[in-house]
Amino acid sequence: MANPISHKENFLKGIIKENPVFVILLGLCPTLGVTSSAVNGLGMGVATAFVLVMSNLVISLVKNVIPDKVRIPSFIVIIAAFVTVVQLLMAAYTPALNEQLGLFIPLIVVNCIVLGRAEAFASRNTALSSIIDGLGMGVGFTFALTLLGAIRELLGSLSLFGYKFIDADGMLVFILAPGAFISLGFIIAIMNWMKNRKRSPH
C-alpha cells in the first residue's frame, strides 16, 4: 500500500493532531490511574511507547503470513510478549518505579492504543512507517501522561518530578481519582478551544 504522507507528518500526527489521549481518547485507564505524579506518567508513557514501537514493527513484518481469522489473537500474543519483557526489565532495573506503577504495567496488554495501532496502522503499512507511527503515538502518549502527571503533582503535592517547592500540603483532590478527571477535562477543553480559534476566520 502506498504511503501518501511523509515520515515527518506520520511522526508528528501522534503528538498533537491525533494525540492518543487528548484527541483519540484511547488508553484512558492508565492515563487516569497512574498520573498522580510526573515521574509516574513519564515511566508509564515510556513503557507503553516501547511496547507500541516493538509490536508495530513485528506486526508489520509478519502481517502477510498471518491468516485473517487469527489476526487479533496473533497480535495480542505479540503485544503480550513485549509487555512481559517490559515488566521483567522494569522489575530488574527500575524496581521502585515498577512498584509505583504496579498492576498498570501488565495492563498495557489491553491498552486500546497498542492494539488499535496494530490493527489500524501496522497491519497495512511497511515496517519503517509502522515504527515511525509507533514512535509518534508513543511520544504523544508519554507527553500526555507526563503533562497530566505534572499538573496533578503541582496542584496536589506542590512539587514537580519529586522536587518540592513549598513545604505545605497541596489540594489533595488532584492526587485522588476525581482530580485526574478534572485535569484531563480542562486539558481537552483548552486544546479544543485553541483548535477552534485557529480555524475560525477572524
Binding site: 503470513v65 491468516p67 519483557v85 526489565l89 512498584e99 504496579g102
Partner: protein, 195 residues
C-alpha cells in the same frame, strides 16, 4: 492485507509458530533478568534493614529466619543484626491487612531490649496524600526509642498513645497493629533465649 488463506492448517501453524516464538523469547528474557530481579529485591530489604538498625557488620538477609506470631496465624521474617558476632538487634518484617487498601508491610528494628530503633514502610497501597503519609518521618519518628511493652500501641482515638495521621485513622491503626504484632513475636523469641 493477509495473503494467506484462512484454512485450518494455516491457522494451526501460524498460531503455533507465534506462541512458540513468543514463549521462547520470554524464557530467554526471564533467564536474563532473573539475577538482577533477585538482586533488586535483596537490596530493597537491605535498605530497609539499614534504615532501622545501625552498626551491624553481617548480612542480615542471608541469616534471616521465620518466627510464628503468638496467635499462630502467620509467621514473620526476622533479620538478625550482628556486630563482631554479637547480636545487637533484630529487624522484623511485619504486615497488617487492616489498612485502607491492601497489605501494609513494615520493617521494625528492635534493640535486644525490645526498644524500637526505627520503623520504615516497605510497601503500602494506601491513599496517596492521606495514608501514604505513614512513610513521612513526621509520623515515623514518634516510635523512635519507644518500647511497645511500655507504650500503648494504639491510636489516640482508641485510647492509645500513637498520634494518628490526619484523615487516615484506618491506616494509622493498621500501622500500629503491625508494630504491635512485630513486638509480640519478637518477645516470644527473646524470652526463649538469654541474650
Amino acid at each position: 492485507m493477509a495473503t494467506i488463506k484462512s484454512s485450518f492448517l494455516n491457522l494451526l501453524v501460524t498460531l503455533t509458530v507465534i506462541t512458540l516464538v513468543a514463549g521462547l523469547s520470554l524464557g530467554y528474557v526471564f533467564q536474563w533478568t532473573k539475577e538482577p530481579i533477585a538482586k533488586a529485591q535483596m537490596e530493597k530489604q537491605l535498605r530497609a534493614i539499614e534504615a532501622v538498625i545501625q552498626g551491624y557488620d553481617n548480612n542480615p538477609v542471608t541469616e534471616k529466619y521465620k518466627v510464628a506470631t503468638p496467635d499462630g496465624q502467620d509467621s514473620l521474617e526476622f533479620f538478625p543484626a550482628k556486630a563482631n558476632g554479637e547480636m545487637i538487634g533484630i529487624a522484623v518484617k511485619t504486615k497488617s491487612s487492616k489498612g485502607y487498601s491492601g497489605d501494609i508491610w513494615l520493617m521494625v528494628g528492635f534493640t535486644m531490649k525490645g526498644d524500637i530503633q526505627q520503623v520504615v514502610v516497605i510497601e503500602h497501597k494506601e491513599t496517596p496524600g492521606l495514608g501514604s503519609k505513614m512513610s513521612d518521618l513526621k509520623f515515623l519518628n514518634q516510635f523512635y526509642g519507644k518500647n511497645p511493652g511500655q507504650m500503648n500501641m494504639k491510636v489516640k482515638k482508641d485510647g492509645g498513645e500513637v498520634d494518628a495521621i490526619t484523615g487516615a485513622t484506618i491506616s494509622s491503626r493498621a500501622f500500629s497493629e503491625a508494630v504491635q504484632v512485630a513486638y509480640e513475636t519478637f518477645q516470644t523469641v527473646n524470652h526463649g533465649q538469654s541474650n
